[in-house]
Subunit: 366 residues, 2 copies
Amino acid sequence: MNDKRQDKVTITEVAKHAGVSTATAGRVLGGYGYSRQEIKDRVKQAAEELGYRPNLLARGLITGKTKTIGVVAGDIQSPFYASILRGIADVTRAAGFGILLTNSDEQIERELEAVQLLREKQVDGLIIAPSDLSGSPHLQAAVRDGCPVVLIDRAIKNLAADAVCVDNRAASRDCITRLTDAGHRRIGLVAELERWEGGDITDFLTAVEDGALDSSTLFPSWQRLYGYIDALRSAGLPIDPGLIGRVGVYSSEAARKETQRLLERPERPTALFTADGLMSAAAMHVITSLDLQIPRDLSLICFDDLDWMSFIKPGIAAVVQPLTEMGEAAARLMLARVEGDGSKPQYLALQPKFAARGSIAAPLAL
Amino acid sequence: MNDKRQDKVTITEVAKHAGVSTATAGRVLGGYGYSRQEIKDRVKQAAEELGYRPNLLARGLITGKTKTIGVVAGDIQSPFYASILRGIADVTRAAGFGILLTNSDEQIERELEAVQLLREKQVDGLIIAPSDLSGSPHLQAAVRDGCPVVLIDRAIKNLAADAVCVDNRAASRDCITRLTDAGHRRIGLVAELERWEGGDITDFLTAVEDGALDSSTLFPSWQRLYGYIDALRSAGLPIDPGLIGRVGVYSSEAARKETQRLLERPERPTALFTADGLMSAAAMHVITSLDLQIPRDLSLICFDDLDWMSFIKPGIAAVVQPLTEMGEAAARLMLARVEGDGSKPQYLALQPKFAARGSIAAPLAL
DNA sequence: TTGTATGCGTTATCAC
DNA sequence: GTGATAACGCATACAA
């Protein structure tokens, strides 16, 4: 019954139809200001009849609030980000907020573009898994401009923003300790350890040795490596750099290659710790193809709980991160900021659970 | 160096700073209209210095285009939607579009709210996995108002919108035929078959018998059941309703329960076909817990390829849907519509691939 | 309680 | 080519 194209039903039309001014129409439709019940009914009915739908662009332009928050994820396709996103979506939706989604693929250039676009679209805040933990002037600028930023999964040095993370170091230390407690002395680690500002693995090891490292602003994988070192040290075991499988590019192939290298060493590790979901899947590939029996030939603990870990042969022990909870927490923090909460930035370190399964056993006596 | 709060750097400021009118400033910054090179440089420099960032709300308000498309997914947490979303995000990003994301949880009320919100936010188009395939006046209204709609995964009767689907019926028929070719005569099916407007399974069977069913506007699971029936019929096998595991609620528990029922029948099926990822994972749970050997005790084919299917014991044969491709196709169709393409709606039926793996064998002689 | 007038930051339509 | 000025659809200060 309406026009052919576009929905040209503006508040002015409704006002005319109801025989009131645009101001009053706005007041009842927008839910602000006062008006008589009779007027309210008349306006609402007119709106209904005309099929009025508020233009949130116009509202946002004037109020300065869009009720939209921007999200920069690494890769929505990964179960990790998908779950976090779910958490974010749930609490924002409940509050009437929309989410504008972008992928960064963990590349800073992408992130820059994304943040630029989101801010041009006037989002009320930014929830982001940052790609650069040391500088990030674009995020500094955001908080300076009053655009709240909530970090997820990792924190940025000297950025006045909330962060929702997981205690990776402790969780990792705990895993390795379970393995040493079971009697393992050669424990391999497979992790994506692409970039650390301080240099390579050896540099990292000496930095840890010196104790001059703030683990909270490391990338999660490095934190997990940190925990691995912690555990070995307190078990009185030496760190063998050859047992640290450093995956330089975040890909299955690279992870498989590195796992294969570890498992084909002359002195094969008796236990393996994989530092994230992609590493775990890649490791399983290799383990299966080498026909190794878990846990007889190899004990295995994975960071991140993937669905197959619970129904595969003996079950794979895993660290299960509270992913949707992280998303929810991040969103709640964000909403508080948007509502004007000016208290000092929070660093939330959630505790992951450990799913004990049949993939841990004592090493085979040689 | 700028103001404390908000980014009050408007085009007016830039114009003033460059000594030109807001009109010219707008022309060079917005990239429309003509202007001298000298002026261009001056304006651009002024913008740079002041840290000008265009307000896309204002632009959208006047142009009527937001360069944002709304996406209504079922559940982003599922690998299915996550992959599709990835495809959508990639092509929209390349075109400078943003995506506003919502979950419907396959509930029509949620979908209604979502579409309402998205349209109020003035998205240029809607990509949606619809929850109701028969009416959907809200989507009819959208296309009527000139807001392009692209459907994914399933199509709606009599809606003038593009749709990107997969040929579920054919793919399913193909799977079952592989099983009958291998000699199977008792083939179980586990699928979420919650709602079909025509009634229950028996009604569906007779409707299929009568041949009076448009399979393209059925929910995917029903299409897959349709293919199952197709294959059995052309193999000359009877349809045993007891072998159709109908999962009424979309949950792992329900799926497990139904699978268990099937696999504990006195005459256990010799092969199983699971109609989607959730069903497959649930089925694997049960199969493992019953200690059934694949493919000796049971052949298995799954719809949707999950990562574990390639490295679990003998490998699980699966239908692999081109998910990111679906998302990309949907986004491309959408962009074309937004650019003004007025040609008649397209129904795209992509062909899934089949990943043959070691989960199919001849049934054990009894 | 209601109406008038103005402004949000752009783009679009004119004259010049 | 460039500059006033009027939209876009709504919210808000102020007057009535």
